[in-house]
């Protein structure tokens, strides 16, 4: 769907060229929700804007549905942009226009619908995002979550195939964030959308994304399915994002693990095995004694997962580990 081939970009600061994105490759498949996570200044905002050419690449090739984005002329680019919706951190609504007029805006720019068609499409979109009764209000009269819903309705007005989300929930409180993410997940299925979102919060990635790329100082340092990256982060930057979202102080935790008696393992359960009564059974069978140092059970998207850090003592530890592996639980020795 979206492909980057050796794409790179730098900015000029005075006489110096500063690399915003080092050459990278990336493929985003049709229908997936692809997340890009990075600290501010990592280049994620630039990467996102390359897709609809709000920023143009210095080199390399970007294709969207097979079309070379950089080769488009002005009118080709406008056509492409109408097929790519975008929502923003600060919503970027027109303050002087009503909610309904904001949603109608892209339809009027395209100019290929009659006024009645526009009105009925706007009504339909506002109903879908749950803002029908606010149609005649101005953006300043809405809450942040409502504003972003207007942004979503506006972005979907021209029936795009791709939706770009630029830190779309970063200005919202946790509860509103969840409801906006929920809406995106629903719309993705209803409209067969491919969603690319950038964020600095692992929690956003965990809730809606299928795959994720971790960006650090202009380089993609890790890519993979959200479950893999979230449960088994490899790069330091990724680990930091995961710890942050779990509110874990990894240095403090390491001290605790070292202090624990016995060998320390981290077990990761995925899917149905999360709820299986495995731990007690293994302990009985192999005679190991365990203490739980740390644990969490949650969901990634709709898949449940569990992660337990255990200290194991006595009994047949190797046999216990084999039993876990046989039950599709991944095991890492920490200490």
């Amino acid at each position: 769907m979206i492909e980057f081939n050796q794409v790179h970009k730098s900015y000029r600061i005075g006489a110096r060229a500063v690399a915003a994105l080092h050459p990278f490759d990336l493929r985003i498949a049709h229908g997936e929700v692809f997340g890009i996570i990075g600290a501010s200044g990592a280049g994620k905002s630039t990467l996102l804007r390359l897709i609809n050419r709000l920023e143009s690449a210095d080199g390399g090739r970007i294709t969207l549905d097979g079309a070379d984005v950089n080769a488009l002329d002005a009118s080709g680019l406008r056509t492409l942009r109408r097929r790519v919706g975008m929502i923003f951190q600060h919503f970027n609504l027109l303050a002087a226009k009503t909610v309904a007029a904001n949603v109608a805006f892209p339809l009027k720019l395209a100019g290929d619908m009659t006024a009645t068609e526009v009105a009925s499409r706007v009504e339909q979109l506002l109903a879908r995002v749950g803002l029908s009764e606010h149609a005649h209000k101005f953006p300043a009269q809405l809450s942040g979550g409502q504003k972003q819903r207007v942004g979503v309705a506006r972005a979907l007005a021209c029936k795009p195939k791709v939706l770009l989300c630029d830190e779309a929930t970063s200005a919202l409180d946790p509860q509103t964030t969840r409801s906006v993410l929920q809406l995106l997940a629903e719309l993705r299925r209803e409209f067969d959308l491919t969603i690319v979102l950038i964020t600095h919060e692992m929690d956003v990635i965990r809730r809606v994304c299928d795959r994720v790329a971790v960006l650090d100082e202009g380089r993609i340092v890790e890519t993979g399915s959200v479950t893999d990256v979230f449960l088994h982060p490899r790069h330091e930057v990724t680990k930091r994002f995961v710890d942050e979202s779990e509110q874990v102080d990894s240095a403090e935790q390491r001290r605790d693990f070292i202090a624990a008696s016995g060998r320390v393992f981290r077990l990761t359960f995925r899917g149905e095995s999360t709820y299986a009564p495995l731990l007690g059974a293994v302990a009985r069978e192999t005679g190991v004694d365990y203490s739980i140092l740390h644990g969490r059970i949650d969901r990634i998207g709709r898949t449940p997962f569990g992660q337990l850090t255990l200290a194991l003592r006595e009994g047949n530890i190797e046999a216990a580990l084999q039993r876990f592996r046989d039950a599709q639980v991944s095991v890492e020795e920490l200490h």
């Binding site: 942009r81 975008m86 002087a96 805006f105 506006r154």
Partner: protein
């Protein structure tokens, strides 16, 4: 001069002068907006980091605007007499006053337009671009409507500046309240005439400011 209050005041003259002032103000304000608005939009669009960034064009426009703004209005009027005669057929009366008023006020208004457009959230331009808007659509459908309160405030300030310019224009034969104030009030020591004209100008300015404030409020959505 007799001793009664307002003995020197010829109310018929005052009426004519007031109408002349209003005609000068209305005509010049309309033309100032028609000329200054596109100039201000162009200044904004060609400035750094904007849609049509053009350093040379911006520098040239900016220079012309600055030159015109730095010439004192009374000198500008005199300098412009040949051009005024060419354009309006005369350098006297209401018609003769309008060209220098417009040339004096349009660059000022253009700067106010530029500033008002700068106040528009950049995100709105970006969102419009992302929706596939052309530059023309961005100007007409996004920038100008979003900047409306600022533009209306700019028109108000310009209108009030034009009131004082019309009074100055009176000194070179434009007529109006300023002319009356200078010929009768100042040169002939008819203090009562001076008083009446000044009060009328004050009322005019007051009305313009109040009307402007109301319009600004009406279009403010923040």
């Amino acid at each position: 001069m007799d001793g009664s209050w307002f003995g020197n005041v010829d109310w018929h003259d005052i009426g004519t002068a007031t109408l002349d002032t209003l005609a000068m103000l209305g005509g010049s304000l309309l033309l100032t907006v028609l000329l200054g608005l596109p100039l201000g939009v162009l200044l904004f669009l060609t400035s750094r980091g904007q849609l049509l960034q053009q350093r040379f064009v911006y520098a040239m426009l900016s220079l012309v605007v600055n030159i015109l703004r730095s010439v004192p209005f009374i000198i500008l009027m005199i300098l412009m007499i040949p051009l005024t005669v060419f354009v309006a057929g005369t350098s006297l009366g209401v018609a003769g006053a309008i060209p220098p008023l417009v040339i004096g006020a349009a660059p000022f208004f253009a700067r106010l337009v530029e500033t008002a457009l700068r106040e528009v959230d950049r995100g709105v331009i970006e969102a419009s671009l992302a929706m596939g808007a052309t530059t023309g659509q961005i100007v007409w459908r996004a920038l100008l409507p979003e900047a409306m309160p600022g533009l209306l405030a700019g028109i108000t300030v310009t209108a009030i500046a034009l009131v004082s310019y019309t009074a100055m224009a009176g000194t070179i034969g434009a007529g109006g309240l300023g002319d009356l104030a200078i010929r009768h009030g100042y040169q002939s020591f008819e203090t009562d005439v001076m008083f009446v004209t000044v009060v009328l100008l004050l009322v005019l300015v007051q009305i313009l400011q109040m009307a402007g404030d109301r319009l600004v409020l009406r279009y403010s959505r923040r």
